[in-house]
Amino acid sequence: MIPASFDYEVAESAEHAVSLLAEHGDEAKLLAGGHSLIPMMRFRLATPTVLVDVGRLDDLRYINSDNGTVSIGALTRHSELEHSALLAESAPLLASVAALVGDPSVRHRGTLGGTLAHADPASDLPAAVLALGGTIVARGPGGDREIAATDFFAGYFESALADDEMIVEVRVAASAGGWNYQKFNRRAQDWAIVGVAVAEEGAGVSLVNMGSTPVRASAVEAAVAAGASAADAAAVAAEGLQPPSDLNADADYRRHLARVFTERALKAAGVA
């Protein structure tokens, strides 16, 4: 429970953070809300030698809507998503999912950019961004680039970000279609054992903790598009997936849960 020693740098701007990352290479980690990184450091599962604190970049805390696109600054806190009137209007799935992350102290510190960059397959918001077909804007030494959420999650705690890139913005299309998020866990503050995010009446469906990354349930989306019932579409929710086994659930039970909660989420999102 005692982290290894590390150096600490405070970024004055996103550009400054990127230059510090370029300087320190893969020994450096960005520190935003810290509610994933610090526990991992305390367990010594992560031992960065330099922390670059981006937590004071308040210019990256915003939620805007323009021409049907919602843009969210990377340092926007979960609690800000949760309580945003704009988001409740134009991307209610994100607001609703944000309200279920961890506990109040996590939600007041944790950031949207941080949880995406962390790429934990058991986290809620990455799956929601995936279901919404979002876009992640990464800033590096050469400027900004856009990465589709479907291309962003590369592996277990791995993203498409280069060592010297940071997320500055997340964009999702304003969405008014039926949506729902089902989170199954033991305690309110825990990660999902299985989660299911549904956007646009089943046009976007993604699963939490059903593989090494948040996964898009393409077979379910296709079934819904072909007019399948919620029950029939949910039956293929776990198809082709290799979910993890842990103390809460082995892989078979997880597949079962994925089917149960996909059906519930689809129904709640308006799929008959």
């Binding site: 429970m1 506990d103 199954f184 305690r187 825990d190 809460n248 039970y253 149960v260």
Partner: protein, 794 residues
């Protein structure tokens, strides 16, 4: 004495706790908040093997870390304690096997977490880095993990030299023939096997120790996050050979214990030995992950219970065979824990014949010891689960089977088949109240509707009627159980010159609110404001005599001592008042904080005047000593027997196996209540802790003896968000055992809740064919139970 919400008295009122402002603002000082000049930190290298020969300890890499000063193996440290092993104070049988338990293992590591080497460093960080850098060469030995496998023929041995994994067998069978006859003649026999999983106590504050030597005079001050500074003082003296009068033990603010701080731990003895040897303060703070293996665990039993009943479900005999997991060593009261339940397997029922036998077994796991309820939750679980099975077998409701078997209200004092004298109670009235509060008719109607609909949200109702033995304990009874100490408690009430009062208690609060409750007791008796009373405790220099806090004993034993010491102060005050009034003491009465001649308020001496007179000693009765102070040591004549009925209503999602507690009713009889707010708090926390065993918590070991639940992400302590909405009530039958008529409430909720919740889960699943669910009833476990009962794939 009144015990109501009468504003004229404090007892019986919901007075806010005086402890809380300091706790809530962070002002309270816990061990880890302290700092002593020149202190050094201990980091402990813990075995990563469940059972292994230690071939070597290599500290060279650790010594290169900045701040690490020494790396010491168990062999290096052995001269510090010589033969002095960690104490077990409860040798329950004369032939109990008790292997020598050194603070740091020298040759064989016996469980994951067993201390095998020590790092000394100038900071906590360096100590942690150093401990991580020490390399230990192990030669693994076969590990004994499962207790039923441990007693099988040819099982590997935890302690090779003992020749067996059994520590002791303890029978309580007053009339074996009568038991056999009852079973032979029974119309209905129910036989069940239950597993009590191991639990990790997980108080908010892990343990911590600072040992500070007084080099000039050979003194030692031990600061420890402990429930038992008094017992720890004696045991440290005995274990390390330090003269007892040179040792002072201080428990600062202690963040909960639940029994796990009722012990004498390796780290306490280690820090003391090093401090005396090196002449500097030596300290250690436990991390949360460390606590999963370095602090004792609770429960860990396999229970076989049989009931012999007539055709109406009236139980004639109960027969219990218990296997109890001791872990690798016997800690302070490890072997006694099953015995505390061993008298109560007949529950609150009038059962004529009793047979209990416990075999206790060593395993390559962390030692077990007292954990909230200690033996009594296990006993209550077994009898309450079995009573529900009997109800099904006889074809009556759970409440009816209980009513047919309750000890009758007019049977008290009641001599139980296990040989205890139950003090008071009205078990049927308690159950009736709980049934009424739970609105059972509506709940059962809804249950029937959902069963008929084949709903995927099934409702279940679970009962738990419990009785516990508290107020530990009459010293002579402890003697008969081979316990190594008495069960009395001490108190001093000291009136200061300005009529402020100090109460010095031998009880050691670590969250219970004794400062508030004790001040209320004394305030009512003296007719003064509770805020004019200071309650001092938990420092053997201030409170030299005591036996500390555990087993729901503080109010009924320690509080009674305070009550009686206050009476003695009043007796002396009366003599002073009589002298000043030139009246006969028998003609005086104490009204509103003043002695007056009966019926003559104009001739009165207020308490403040008596206090000052006692201090100046200018005009006291001939031969009277100055000052107003009394000391009482109270040895209870009997246990107290709190009891109650709890009803849990759960909803089970049969698609996922998830269990929600949708209603929880608790009706408890803890006798008279000093502060009902504190009573409710104990019930709330206790119920959640009991429900946690039912649904969430499990110290999981794999077959190699590796523990896999070492942090609070994997070990599921429920939070406030998981707590049910409690509906709490009481039914008071004052205990005749002590003058306040109190019984104790510290463990009741934990004892009652576990079987109430599991009985409810089983009741909900009855349409699926499930008759038992193992604990914790996690969603996956419940889902599999449903699948298996329905013959489907698991």
């Amino acid at each position: 004495m009144t015990m109501t919400d009468d504003p004229a008295t404090h007892m019986g009122s919901h007075r806010l706790r005086r402890e809380d402002p300091a706790l809530l603002t962070g002002e309270a000082q816990f061990i880890d908040d302290m700092s002593l000049h020149g202190e050094i930190w201990v980091g402990i290298v813990r075995s990563t093997e469940a059972h292994a020969t230690i071939l070597g300890v290599d500290g060279s890499a650790a010594l290169e870390i900045d701040g690490v000063t020494e790396v010491l193996s168990g062999a290096d440290l052995a001269p510090l304690w010589g033969e002095g092993a960690l104490p077990c104070a409860w040798p329950v049988t004369d032939d109990m096997r008790n292997p020598a338990h050194l603070p740091v293992a020298t040759s064989i590591a016996k469980y994951v977490g067993d201390a095998v080497a020590v790092v000394l460093a100038d900071s906590r960080y360096a100590a942690a880095d150093g401990a991580a850098a020490v390399s230990v060469d192990y030669d693994p030995l076969p590990a004994v993990v499962d207790i039923e496998a441990a007693v099988a023929e040819g099982a590997p041995l935890v302690h090779e030299d003992l020749g067996t994994n059994e520590s002791y067998t303890w029978p309580l069978i007053p009339d074996p023939d009568a038991v056999d006859e009852a079973f032979a003649n029974a119309a209905v026999v129910v036989g069940e096997r239950y597993v009590q999983q191991r639990l990790i106590p997980a108080p908010m504050e892990p343990r911590g120790v600072i040992a500070a030597p007084g080099v000039a005079n050979g003194e030692l001050t031990l600061y420890s996050a402990t429930q038992i500074p008094h017992i720890l003082k004696v045991m440290t003296a005995v274990t390390l050979g330090i003269p007892e009068h040179k040792i002072r033990v201080v428990a600062p603010s202690v963040g909960g214990g639940f029994g796990c701080k009722l012990n004498v731990y390796a780290e306490e003895i280690l820090c003391c030995a090093l401090a005396m040897d090196r002449g500097v303060p030596v300290r250690w703070t436990e991390s949360r992950s460390e606590a999963a293996t370095a602090t004792i665990q609770g429960r860990g039993q396999v229970q076989h219970i049989e009931l012999a009943a007539d055709a109406n479900g009236k139980v004639q005999a109960v027969r219990v065979k218990l296997l109890a997991d001791m872990g690798a060593y016997l800690q302070l009261v490890t072997p006694g824990v099953p015995l505390l339940g061993g008298f109560l397997y007949h529950g609150c029922y009038d059962i004529a014949h009793y047979s209990f036998e416990c075999t206790s077994v060593f395993t390559n796991k962390t030692p077990t010891d007292a954990y909230r309820g200690a033996g009594r939750p296990e006993a209550t679980y077994a009898i309450e689960r079995a009573m529900d099975s009997l109800a099904v077998a006889v074809g009556v409701t759970p409440e009816e089977i209980r009513s047919r078997n309750f000890i009758a209200a007019d049977a008290f004092p009641y001599e139980s088949c296990a040989g205890l004298i139950f003090d008071s109670g009205d078990y049927q009235a308690v159950l009736d109240k709980a049934v009424e509060m739970a609105d059972l008719q509506s709940v059962r109607a809804e249950q029937a509707r959902r069963r008929a609909d084949g709903s995927n949200r099934q409702i279940g109702v679970g009962f738990s009627s419990y009785v516990e033995m508290c107020g530990l304990a009459p010293s002579r009874v402890l003697a008969s159980l081979n316990y190594g100490a008495g069960g009395w408690e001490a108190a001093t009430v000291r009136v200061l010159p300005t009529a402020k009062v100090q109460v010095i208690t031998g009880s050691t609060p670590h969250g219970q609110g004794h400062e508030t409750s004790w001040s209320m007791i004394v305030a009512d008796k003296l007719g003064i404001d509770p805020d004019d009373i200071e309650v001092l405790h938990s420092d053997t220099a201030i409170s030299p005599t005591g036996l500390d806090t555990y087993g729901s004993r503080s109010l009924s034993v320690g509080g009674t001592a305070v009550f009686m010491a206050t009476d003695k102060v009043l007796d002396k005050a009366r003599l002073i008042a009589a002298h000043q009034l030139e009246a006969n003491e028998d003609d005086l009465e104490y009204v509103d904080g003043a002695f007056q001649v009966k019926g003559t308020p104009t001739a009165a001496v207020p308490f403040a005047a008596i206090a000052f007179a006692a201090f100046t000693a200018h005009d006291l009765p001939d031969g009277m000593e100055p000052n107003l102070e009394a000391h009482v040591t109270y040895d209870p004549p009997n246990f107290t027997f709190p009891n109650g009925t709890h009803i849990a209503v759960v909803e089970v999602d049969t698609d996922t196996g998830n269990v929600d507690i949708v209603d929880y009713v608790a009706v408890d009889d803890c006798g008279n209540q000093v502060n009902p707010m504190i009573v409710e708090g104990q019930v709330h926390g206790g119920v959640l802790q009991g429900a946690a065993q039912a649904l969430y918590e499990d110290a999981v070991y794999n077959e190699d003896g590796q523990i896999v639940t070492v942090n609070l992400g994997d070990y599921l302590v429920p939070s406030a968000a998981e707590a049910p909405i409690y509906r709490v009530a009481s039914h008071v039958t004052p205990s005749p055992t002590n003058p306040m008529g109190v019984k104790g409430i510290g463990e009741a909720g934990t004892i009652a809740a576990t079987p109430a919740v599991i009985n409810a889960v089983v009741d909900a699943l009855r349409p699926t064919g499930v008759t038992d669910v193992t604990m914790p009833a996690s969603p996956q476990t419940v889902w599999r139970a449903i699948n298996e009962a329905q013959g489907g794939a698991s």
